[in-house]
């Protein structure tokens, strides 16, 4: 597979986080999402409360989008586990996976995936002489 891997998040921070929590077992949770499509693309909203920006990982590989985030709001040593949100999505061919934009605000992740130029309805102006 020779597919481009793009990531919008600082990878060193993410790996550092992994290293520090590697000793604790990870409790993985699939988070609820809303997916809405309009004429220009898809908006995905995911609930990831307790996740800091630097602990969020978004990975696009081919048509697969994986969203992961570690909960840092909880004291992991108290429970003995790290809670991690993780969910994988498969993007349709009409979406442009290279143009994924994400923003995290108060635990709500908003991901915008535009449609590929070829999939967008175009209006062609006709000039009549």
């Amino acid at each position: 597979m020779n597919q481009a891997t793009t990531s919008c998040c600082p990878q060193p921070a993410a790996t550092a986080q992994n290293a520090s929590t590697a000793a604790l077992p990870v409790h993985t949770v699939r988070m609820p999402v809303d997916v809405q499509e309009d004429a220009h693309g898809v908006t995905l909203l995911a609930d990831m409360p307790g996740v800091k920006r630097e602990d969020l990982r978004l990975q696009v590989e081919g048509d697969a989008l994986r969203i992961e985030g570690d909960v840092s709001a909880f004291d992991a040593s108290a429970d003995g586990t790290t809670t991690r949100y993780s969910r994988a999505f498969t993007l349709g061919k009409q979406l442009d996976a290279t143009q994924v934009a994400a923003e995290l605000s108060q635990g709500v992740l908003r991901v915008r995936i535009p449609k590929a130029a070829s999939a967008q309805a175009r209006r062609i102006n006709v000039t009549v002489n």
Binding site: K52, V71, D75, G92, I113
Partner: protein, 146 residues
């Protein structure tokens, strides 16, 4: 040897093309696997010698809507989620709607030694952190009996 099969007439090819177009139209743009059902907010209560720390995970609450009250030893947390849906302009197709909207309520009975004046709350990254100061334990008093 080439010969025509009765099934690959031009009309049939048109039908296949039509079917393909229909499938592309009906194909979802995002697959998210098995649906996720909404769950109650997750809470963690940590006990320290001089204070308690309560953390409630609830994403996207409007900070102005969060109310924390202490009444008769019961801590009540109420918050409301802001509508984060994108502006409705033109045609919008909703593919998935799993996220919770509306009011979040959590009640917690507290130990007796919590100081009602020593409660502070902070909302960050979709997590509500509440620090509850404990009163210093009173030294046992000997009451004189007449």
């Amino acid at each position: 040897m080439l010969y025509r099969t009765p099934f690959m007439r031009p009309r049939f090819q048109e039908f296949v093309q039509f079917q393909q177009a229909l499938r592309a139209f009906a194909e979802p743009t995002v697959w998210a696997g098995e649906p996720v059902r909404p769950a109650a907010p997750t809470v963690q209560l940590r006990r320290h010698p001089d204070h308690l720390e309560l953390t409630l995970l609830a994403a996207g609450l409007a900070p102005s809507s969060i109310e924390v009250t202490l009444d008769q030893g019961v801590l009540t947390i109420v918050g409301e989620r802001e509508a984060t849906a994108p502006p409705r302009e033109g045609d919008i197709t909703v593919h998935l709607q799993e996220r919770f909207t509306g009011r979040v309520t959590h009640r917690q009975r507290l130990p007796d030694d919590i100081d009602p004046q020593g409660i502070t709350a902070r909302y960050a990254d979709g997590a509500l952190h509440i620090r509850l100061q404990r009163r210093a334990p009173e030294a046992p008093r000997r009451i004189a009996v007449n």
